[in-house]
């Protein structure tokens, strides 16, 4: 165990979390169904005019993705917290940030990646062009990991609190606004014939920044919540 390298540790945590999730597949599906449902509700509320739907599609998909990723945040640490695994994790000699990064990666694979994969189908509901769909996928691929990372901070801070589910959305949603703006903006830009490079590179920059800082911040938050 002591000889475990950092990438090895990362893989181990991801594998473990994925395995645990596979035993409770319903959880993953619930998030996905929620996402599909929210997106499908908008045409019912707004009306079937394709002109309008095409215009609101990027925003709708992004807001729904934001809400869907909030749903599963509560689960990121709570199971480990309740059965005492988290306390053990704080004690291991390896870097806690790396462990946290592993958990974030697993969370993204379970709640972010499915959204990315299903999003094109939803885009078709809104009559989006093929080019716009590709940009939507790229933007979601860059943006949804950031949602998981920022969400991890909120999940760690609200660990074990009453009303944690609503509270975590209250903390995390305002911080996710830049991702929403650049993500939806990229798709809108391609629809109006502008370059998407600036939007996507800004999303990429946010992703890199979060990748560097959020695991460490989340680790600190966990220590604060667990002492």
């Amino acid at each position: 165990m002591n000889k475990l390298s950092l990438p090895g540790l990362l893989l181990l945590v991801i594998k473990r979390d994925l395995l645990l999730a596979m035993r409770r597949r319903a959880d993953v599906l619930t998030t996905l169904v929620f996402f599909v449902m929210v997106v499908s509700l908008f045409p019912l509320g707004i009306g079937p005019e394709q002109e309008i739907l095409r215009k609101i599609a990027p925003g709708v998909v992004w807001v729904a993705a934001l809400l869907a990723s909030m749903l599963s945040l509560g689960r990121m640490f709570s199971a480990d917290y309740l059965d005492g695994t988290l306390e053990q994790m704080l004690l291991v000699p390896q870097s806690l940030s790396m462990l946290v990064l592993g958990k974030i990666a697993a969370h993204w694979m379970l709640s972010g990646l499915p959204l990315v994969l299903i999003a094109p189908a939803l885009g078709l509901q809104f009559d989006m062009s093929a080019q716009a769909l590709w940009v939507l996928i790229a933007a979601l691929l860059l943006g949804t990991p950031v949602l998981s990372m920022i969400g991890a901070i909120g999940a760690a801070l609200t660990l074990g609190l009453r009303g944690g589910g609503v509270l975590v959305s209250l903390l995390v949603l305002p911080l996710c606004i830049p991702v929403l703006i650049f993500g939806a903006g990229a798709v809108e830009a391609v629809s109006s014939g502008m370059s998407v490079i600036s939007h996507l590179s800004l999303l990429g920059a946010i992703l890199m920044l979060s990748l560097v800082f959020t695991p460490w911040v989340t680790a600190q938050a966990l220590r604060i919540s667990m002492e």
Binding site: L167, L170, L171, P174, I181, G185, L202, Q220, I224, E227
Partner: protein, 245 residues
């Protein structure tokens, strides 16, 4: 000259100091409010473009500036509390948050009342108004997080971490909202260039100073209550004149 700054970071010492300081901030604040309003309404001329409606600026701009400034101060105290483990800094952060949220609210309210006659709409998704709204959300998140944690030490530290993350995010949020706004051809209130009359400037700065003193006075009173609550089992609290009475 060596001053022991940490002397006043002990809640027991600071409690007395804060009590003595409050009147020195509260009364000048009241006086400056009166002066600022007098200059703003009776000395400053009406604006060429906006007529009388611009007079909302004397409360709107100070409230907006302070709501952002208070968040930074709050995050600063929070960071101090985390780094040096001083309980008092965390208490100051907690005491500042409600007032900061209040100023964000005032800024939004006065912004809407200014927007109606100028833009013809109560709310416009202008970059600054939108950022102010998000700032209000950040304050509410901070307050809600601290309110839902029972253990004061965890509440302090969790709130501090959130405030720091929020303050790092504020510039990113502001930039992204501004970018979003320019792409969507939003409108902005533009004051008529640099031609602000000298009396207008004086009124605005007086009001800014008044609001700042008000914030200090109110948060000092609030932090005194927090200190008493937290330290209620300590010897020095039970020996206070106002408690013994």
């Amino acid at each position: 000259m060596a001053i022991n700054w940490f002397k006043y970071s002990a809640p027991s010492t600071f409690y007395g100091l804060a009590g003595r300081l409050v009147p020195w901030f509260a009364w000048p604040a009241a006086l400056l409010f009166c002066i600022g309003l007098y200059v703003g309404f009776f000395v400053a001329p009406s604006d060429v473009v906006q007529g009388e409606a611009y007079r909302i600026i004397f409360i709107h701009v100070p409230a907006s500036i302070l709501s952002m400034f208070i968040y930074l101060i709050m995050a600063g105290y929070a960071a101090l509390g985390l780094i040096f483990n001083t309980r008092l800094s965390a208490m100051m952060a907690t005491a500042l948050a409600p007032t900061g949220a209040l100023f964000a609210l005032i800024s939004l309210w006065t912004g809407a009342l200014w927007g109606k006659p100028m833009w013809g709409a109560w709310w416009v998704w202008d970059a600054r108004l939108t950022s102010e709204l998000i700032l209000l959300f950040l304050y509410l998140g901070f307050i809600a997080l601290q309110a839902s944690i029972d253990d004061p030490r965890r509440a302090d530290r969790a709130g501090a971490l959130l405030a720091i993350v929020g303050s790092v995010n504020v510039p990113i949020i502001y930039f992204s909202v501004k970018w979003w706004n320019t792409l969507h051809q939003g409108s902005t209130i533009k004051f008529t260039g640099t031609s602000m009359h000298i009396a207008m400037q004086q009124a605005m700065f007086t009001m800014l100073l008044a609001c700042w003193l008000y914030v200090i006075a109110v948060s000092l009173v609030r932090v005194r209550s927090i200190i008493l609550e937290r330290e209620r089992n300590n010897q020095w609290v039970t020996e206070l004149a106002e408690v013994k009475r």
